[in-house]
C-alpha cells in the first residue's frame, strides 16, 4: 500500500530536529520504506510504501508513532506533540439512541458507532483543509466529504457520512446481501451484488450502503443536507475483501477494512470528527453517541516459552541485555512485563502473534545495518547425485562453441495438445507446451533474412499431462538449423553423443525453412558419463586404405557387413558417396602383432567379393 504524508501534517503530531531527508533515511532503514521525498512548492511530502501487515501505519498518526521509536536511534530528538488516543474523550456513548433504530448482524460488524450532527452547513472547506488534501493528491469537494477523507488519512480509520434525513424511518438493518440485490454507490455505478456482502437497508427496504467499500448514492450528503450521520465502524474483513474483489471496486476504505482494523480506533476517530464538524460546518453532535461493540477489547499479551532475551539474541546473533530489548519494545508502545510476558499495544494486536514478530520489532529498531555480517559455519549438506545441471551446462557449452546460438522461448504457447491455463493473459500464451519445435519454427520465421544461416538450440522443460497429477516436466534439447544439409545437423548430434558418452538416435524433422531435431535429454543424462576408459596406445601401427563398395541405402548394414569380414577391421569411415558407391577408409589393426601386407590380402579379397 502507498501513502503520501506531508511533512507539515506529520509535524503537527511529531516534534523532531530531523530534516525531511533525515527522516526519509531513518524510516526507510528501520520502518516503512520512504520511496520518494517529493517537493510541492515549499512543502515536502513523503511517498511511503506500507506493508500489508502494518495497516496501522496507513495514517499520519501511525507514521508519527514510528518516527518516535526510530529517530532517536539515529541521534535525533523525537516525541509526540499530542496523542489522539490519550486525549480525554468526553462522549457519552450508549447502545441505544433515540435518533436511530439499528438491527445488527454481530458476526459481520465488529463495532458500530455513529453520531448525529445537526445543523450542518455544507460548503467550502477552510484553506488549511483544502491544502492538506491537495498535498496528498485529493481534490476538495465540500466540507463534509473533506472531513471524511481527512480523518481517514490522519487516523487510518475510514469514515462515512449519511444525509440523516434520507434514511427512511431513521432505521438501519446491517445484514448480508442476497444474491442479485442492486445498489448504486456514490460514484453512480450500479452493482448487482454477488450475495453475502455487508449492506445496510433502511426503513423503506432500500439498500443505502455497501459497507466498508462505498456509500449508497441514495443516502449521500448534498448541498441541501442539514443533518449528517457521522459513521465509524469496523467490519469482518474477509466479507469486505470478497465483495471488493468480486465487484472489482477497490476503494481506499476497502483496502483498510479488509486488513482488519482495531475497534479501539473507532471512538477517537469519531471524537476528532465531531470536533471537525463543529469547526468547519457549524454542525453540533447529539450528546448521545451510538456505540455497539461486538468483540472484546481485552489487552492481548504474548507469552513466551523461551525467555525473551535468549530468544531475541538467538535470532539476531548478538548479545542484547533484557533492558535494551525492553527499551526498544517500549518505544513501540509494548509493555514488557517479564522475560515471559509482553503486552501488545492495541494498534499492533492484529499483527503481532508469535515471538518471531517481537524479534522483527527489536531487530529493525536496533537496525539491520548495525548487525554483524558472517557466513554460517556448521556441516555442509550432502550433495545430490543428480547430474542434470552438469550435463545441461556441458551440452550448452559444446553447442555454443560449435556455432549454435541459444534461445529462451516461452513455455506458454497458443496451440498445443498439452495442459490449458484456466486464466490466460492472452491467447498467445494459453497452453503449456509439450514440444519445443513449434516455438523454434516461429523464431526461424521471425529471423529469416536477418543472418545467412541460423543454428539455434534451447534446453527447456516440456510439460506432459498426467491424469490426476502434476505434469511430467521433461527436459528437452532442440537443435534447429536453416542449413538443410541433414548430415551436418546429424553430425552435431553424433558429436554430442560422443561428449556425453551415450548413443543418441536423432530424429530429424525436415521443414521447408529448417531442420529440427528435438531430443529428450532425460534418458540420456541418466546414462551419460564423462568417465573415459583408457585404451593403451598400440605399438603396432595400423594399415589404412580406401576401398569402394556398392551402396543400397543402409549404411549401418554395410558397415556391419564389412566388420564381419575380419577382426582386423578396426575402423570404418565414410570418405565419399558417389551415386550408388561409397568410398570407405578402412583401418586395419591388431593389438597383438604388426599386420603385414600378407595379412591384409585375404581380407581385401573378401571385401572385393562383397562388391
Amino acid at each position: 500500500m502507498q501513502i503520501l504524508i506531508p511533512d507539515l501534517w506529520l509535524r503537527e503530531y511529531l516534534e523532531t530536529n530531523a530534516t525531511p531527508k533525515q527522516i526519509q533515511h531513518a524510516l526507510s532503514l528501520c520502518g516503512p520504506s520512504v520511496e520518494r521525498l517529493h517537493k510541492k512548492g515549499d512543502e515536502y511530502i513523503y511517498d511511503i510504501e506500507v506493508t500489508t501487515n502494518r495497516v496501522d501505519m496507513m495514517s499520519v498518526v501511525g507514521i508519527a508513532f514510528e518516527c518516535v521509536a526510530i529517530l532517536p536511534r539515529f541521534g535525533y530528538t523525537a516525541k509526540l506533540k499530542k496523542d489522539p488516543y490519550l486525549e480525554k474523550v468526553d462522549l457519552s456513548t450508549s447502545k441505544k439512541v433515540n435518533y436511530l433504530n439499528v438491527t445488527l448482524d454481530k458476526a459481520i460488524c465488529y463495532r458500530f458507532s455513529t453520531a448525529l450532527i445537526r445543523d450542518v452547513k455544507v460548503g467550502k472547506s477552510p484553506d488549511w483543509l483544502v491544502k492538506r488534501l491537495e498535498l496528498v493528491g485529493m481534490r476538495s469537494l465540500n466540507n463534509v466529504v473533506d472531513i471524511s477523507n481527512y480523518l481517514m488519512h490522519e487516523l487510518g480509520q475510514p469514515v462515512h457520512t449519511f444525509d440523516y434525513d434520507k434514511i427512511a424511518n431513521h432505521t438501519m438493518i446491517v445484514r448480508q446481501s442476497r444474491k442479485g440485490e442492486k445498489l448504486t454507490t456514490l460514484d453512480a455505478k450500479t452493482h448487482t451484488l454477488p450475495g453475502g456482502d455487508i449492506v445496510i437497508e433502511d426503513g423503506s427496504g432500500k439498500l443505502i450502503d455497501l459497507c466498508g467499500i462505498m456509500g449508497g448514492l441514495n443516502s449521500a450528503v448534498d448541498e441541501h443536507t442539514q443533518n449528517v450521520l457521522l459513521f465509524v465502524q469496523t467490519y469482518e474483513p474477509t466479507h469486505i475483501r470478497k465483495t471488493s474483489m468480486a465487484l472489482a471496486h477497490r476503494t481506499a476504505a476497502a483496502e483498510l477494512f479488509e486488513k482488519n482494523l482495531p475497534t479501539e480506533n473507532v471512538l477517537p476517530t469519531l471524537h476528532s470528527g465531531i470536533k471537525l464538524f463543529s469547526q468547519t460546518t457549524g454542525g453540533q453532535a447529539d450528546k448521545s453517541v451510538l456505540d455497539i461493540l461486538n468483540v472484546s477489547e481485552k489487552v492481548t499479551t504474548l507469552k513466551l516459552a523461551c525467555p525473551l532475551t535468549e530468544f531475541v539474541n538467538s535470532r539476531l546473533g548478538i548479545n542484547l541485555t533484557f533492558a535494551e530489548i525492553a527499551k526498544i519494545l517500549k518505544s513501540l508502545e509494548f509493555v514488557v512485563q517479564s522475560e515471559q510476558v509482553v503486552e501488545i499495544p492495541w494498534v499492533r494486536k492484529l499483527d503481532i502473534a508469535i515471538p518471531e514478530d517481537l524479534v522483527e520489532e527489536v531487530a529493525r529498531i536496533y537496525g539491520y545495518h548495525n548487525l554483524p555480517t558472517q557466513l554460517m559455519a556448521g556441516n555442509l549438506p550432502t550433495p545430490l547425485s543428480d547430474t542434470t545441471f552438469y550435463w545441461e551446462a556441458k551440452v550448452k557449452s559444446a553447442l555454443s562453441h560449435w556455432g549454435f546460438t541459444e534461445t529462451y522461448t516461452y513455455s506458454l504457447v497458443d496451440q498445443d495438445s498439452g495442459l490449458k491455463l484456466k486464466n490466460p493473459l492472452s491467447s498467445e500464451w494459453t497452453y503449456l507446451r509439450t514440444s519445443l519445435a513449434p516455438s523454434h519454427l516461429k523464431i526461424v520465421s521471425e529471423n529469416l533474412g536477418k543472418v545467412d544461416e541460423l543454428h539455434l538450440f534451447e534446453i527447456a522443460n516440456v510439460y506432459l499431462p498426467k491424469k490426476g497429477n502434476l505434469p511430467h516436466e521433461e527436459l528437452h534439447l532442440i537443435l534447429t538449423s536453416t542449413n538443410l544439409d541433414v548430415s551436418q545437423l546429424k553430425g552435431y548430434v553424433e558429436a554430442l553423443s560422443l561428449e556425453m558418452g551415450v548413443h543418441i538416435t536423432p530424429e530429424i524433422k525436415v521443414y521447408p525453412t529448417a531442420l529440427i531435431c528435438e531430443i529428450n535429454l532425460e534418458p540420456l543424462i541418466a546414462k551419460a558419463t564423462s568417465i573415459k576408459t583408457y585404451i593403451p596406445i598400440s605399438q603396432y601401427p595400423p594399415i589404412i586404405e580406401d576401398i569402394n563398395v556398392p551402396y543400397t541405402g543402409n549404411y549401418a548394414a554395410t558397415v556391419a557387413k564389412i566388420k564381419k569380414v575380419s577382426p582386423f577391421v578396426a575402423k570404418i569411415e565414410l570418405v565419399d558417396k558417389y551415386e550408388n558407391k561409397l568410398t570407405l577408409r578402412i583401418t586395419y589393426h591388431s593389438k597383438s602383432k604388426q599386420l603385414s601386407s600378407q595379412n591384409i590380402v585375404p581380407i581385401r579379397e573378401k571385401l572385393s567379393a562383397l562388391a
Binding site: 526507510s28 532503514l29 528501520c30 520502518g31 520504506s33 520511496e35 520518494r36 475483501r241 486488513k259 538467538s314 535470532r315 539476531l316 548478538i318 518471531e356 514478530d357 531487530a363 529493525r364 539491520y368 545495518h369 548487525l371 554483524p372 555480517t373 558472517q374 557466513l375 554460517m376 556448521g378 556441516n379 555442509l380 549438506p381 545430490l384 562453441h401 560449435w402 556455432g403 546460438t405 534461445t407 529462451y408 522461448t409 516461452y410 506458454l412 495442459l419 491455463l421 486464466n423 493473459l425 492472452s426 503449456l432 521471425e446 529471423n447 543472418v451 543454428h455 522443460n461 510439460y463 499431462p465 502434476l470 516436466e473 601401427p541 594399415i543 589404412i544 586404405e545 601386407s597 581385401r604
Partner: protein, 339 residues
C-alpha cells in the same frame, strides 16, 4: 606385383604423414620417386608383363605414383605457406555460437552459491497450490496472494494439494527441500522458471528466480546478511554494497527487502536510481509455520530464505543496459548474437 604396389603405397603414405621436417620429405621423395627409387625398380618389371596384365597393373602403378607425389606435394605446400605468412590479414574465425544472457546469469549465480556449500536442486515449475502457497503460510483467502498474479491450470483440484499453479515464485522449493532432506543442514539454491500474469517493459509472463534456503541449528540474521553480502560482492563486484530494510512476507519473519548500491553512483544517489540504492528482492528468516509444514521442529532449527529474479539481478550488473525485459524472450538473432 599388384600386392607389391599396394603395400608400397600404404608404406609411403604412412611415412609421409609422419614426416616432420623438409629433409625427411626430400629423402622420401628420393626413396620412392627418385631415378633409382622403389617405383623405378617396379617399372623395370612392368615391361616384362603380358599386355593384358600390363594394362591393368600399369593403371595401378600410375595411381600409386600420383598418390605418393600428391601426398608429398601437399605436405610441402603446408610447410611453404608457413614461410610466407601475412599476419596483418584478418583471421578466419570458427563459427561463433552464443549462450543466452539468462544462461550466463544462472551459471554465475549457481557457481557463487555452490562455492559456499549450497546444493542446486530442481523442483516442479507447475506445482500444487499447497507448495506454492498454503505451506508457505498463505491461506486461501490471504490478501498477500493478490499481489502475486498467478496462472492456474485448467485441471481438477486435488483434495489435499489443491489446484495446479504455474509457480509464481521459486519458494515452492522450500517445503519440498525440507521434505527431501528431512534432517537439516539444508543449504539449497533452486533456479527455475516462474510465471505471472504480467507483461510490460519490466515484466514478462515467464521469468526466472533463484531461491536460497538455509536451515540448521543456530542460524540467525547475521548469517543471512553474510550470505547476501558474499553474493553481492561476488556477483556485482567488491565496490557494491548491500543493505536490508524491513518488509513483510507471509513465509518469513522477520522479512527484509534487500538493496544494492547503484552501479553508477555507488550509493550517493543519482538520476538513474532510487536514492542511491536499487531493490534486489525479498529475504527473511523462515517462518516457524513453514518449518512446521516441512516437518522441521522450529524450536530446534532456524533458517533463512531469499528469492530473487534472475533477469532483474542480471540487469543490475553494470554495463548491461537492456531497457526492456521482453527483449530477452523475443529471440531476435541480432540480440542473441551480442552475448
Amino acid at each position: 606385383m599388384r600386392q607389391k604396389l599396394q603395400n608400397l603405397k600404404n608404406e609411403a603414405l604412412a611415412q609421409i604423414i609422419q614426416a616432420t621436417d623438409p629433409a625427411e620429405l626430400k629423402n622420401l621423395r628420393y626413396h620412392y620417386l627418385g631415378k633409382k627409387g622403389a617405383l623405378a625398380e617396379i617399372a623395370k618389371d612392368l615391361s616384362r608383363l603380358e599386355p593384358e596384365a600390363k594394362k591393368d597393373i600399369g593403371q595401378l602403378f600410375n595411381d600409386t605414383k600420383s598418390a605418393i607425389s600428391e601426398a608429398l606435394g601437399r605436405k610441402l605446400e603446408i610447410r611453404n605457406s608457413k614461410l610466407e605468412i601475412d599476419t596483418s590479414l584478418p583471421g578466419l574465425k570458427p563459427p561463433l555460437g552464443h549462450l543466452h544472457p539468462v544462461t550466463h546469469a544462472i551459471e554465475e549465480i549457481s557457481s557463487i552459491f555452490e562455492k559456499i556449500g549450497f546444493v542446486r536442486v530442481r523442483y516442479p515449475e507447475a506445482d500444487w497450490d499447497w507448495y506454492a502457497f498454503e505451506a508457505l503460510n498463505m491461506h486461501r483467502n490471504h490478501p498477500a496472494r493478490d499481489d502475486i498474479e498467478t496462472f492456474f491450470i485448467d485441471a481438477p483440484e486435488d483434495k489435499k494439494m489443491g489446484k495446479i499453479v504455474l509457480t509464481p515464485q521459486t519458494s515452492n522449493s522450500q517445503v519440498r527441500e525440507m521434505e527431501r532432506v528431512k534432517i537439516p543442514p539444508i543449504r539449497m539454491v533452486n533456479i527455475a522458471k516462474c510465471y505471472r500474469r504480467q507483461s510490460d517493459v519490466s515484466h514478462t509472463v515467464m521469468f526466472h528466480q533463484f531461491e536460497g534456503l538455509v536451515i540448521d541449528t543456530d542460524i540467525n540474521i547475521t548469517h543471512l546478511k553474510g550470505t547476501i553480502d558474499h553474493f553481492v560482492k561476488q556477483f556485482f563486484g567488491p565496490k557494491r554494497q548491500s543493505r536490508l530494510r524491513p518488509y513483510h512476507f507471509q513465509f518469513t519473519e522477520p522479512s527484509f527487502e534487500v538493496d544494492v548500491t547503484c552501479d553508477i553512483c555507488l550509493g550517493k544517489g543519482c538520476k538513474l536510481c532510487k536514492e542511491g540504492w536499487l531493490e534486489l528482492g525479498g529475504a527473511g528468516m523462515v517462518h516457524p509455520n513453514v518449518l512446521r509444514a516441512g516437518k522441521i521442529d522450529p524450536s530446534k532449527y532456524t533458517g533463512f530464505a531469499f528469492g530473487w529474479g534472475v533477469e532483474r539481478t542480471y540487469m543490475m550488473k553494470s554495463g548491461l543496459k537492456i531497457d526492456d525485459l521482453r527483449l530477452l524472450y523475443a529471440n531476435d538473432i541480432r540480440f542473441l548474437n551480442q552475448f
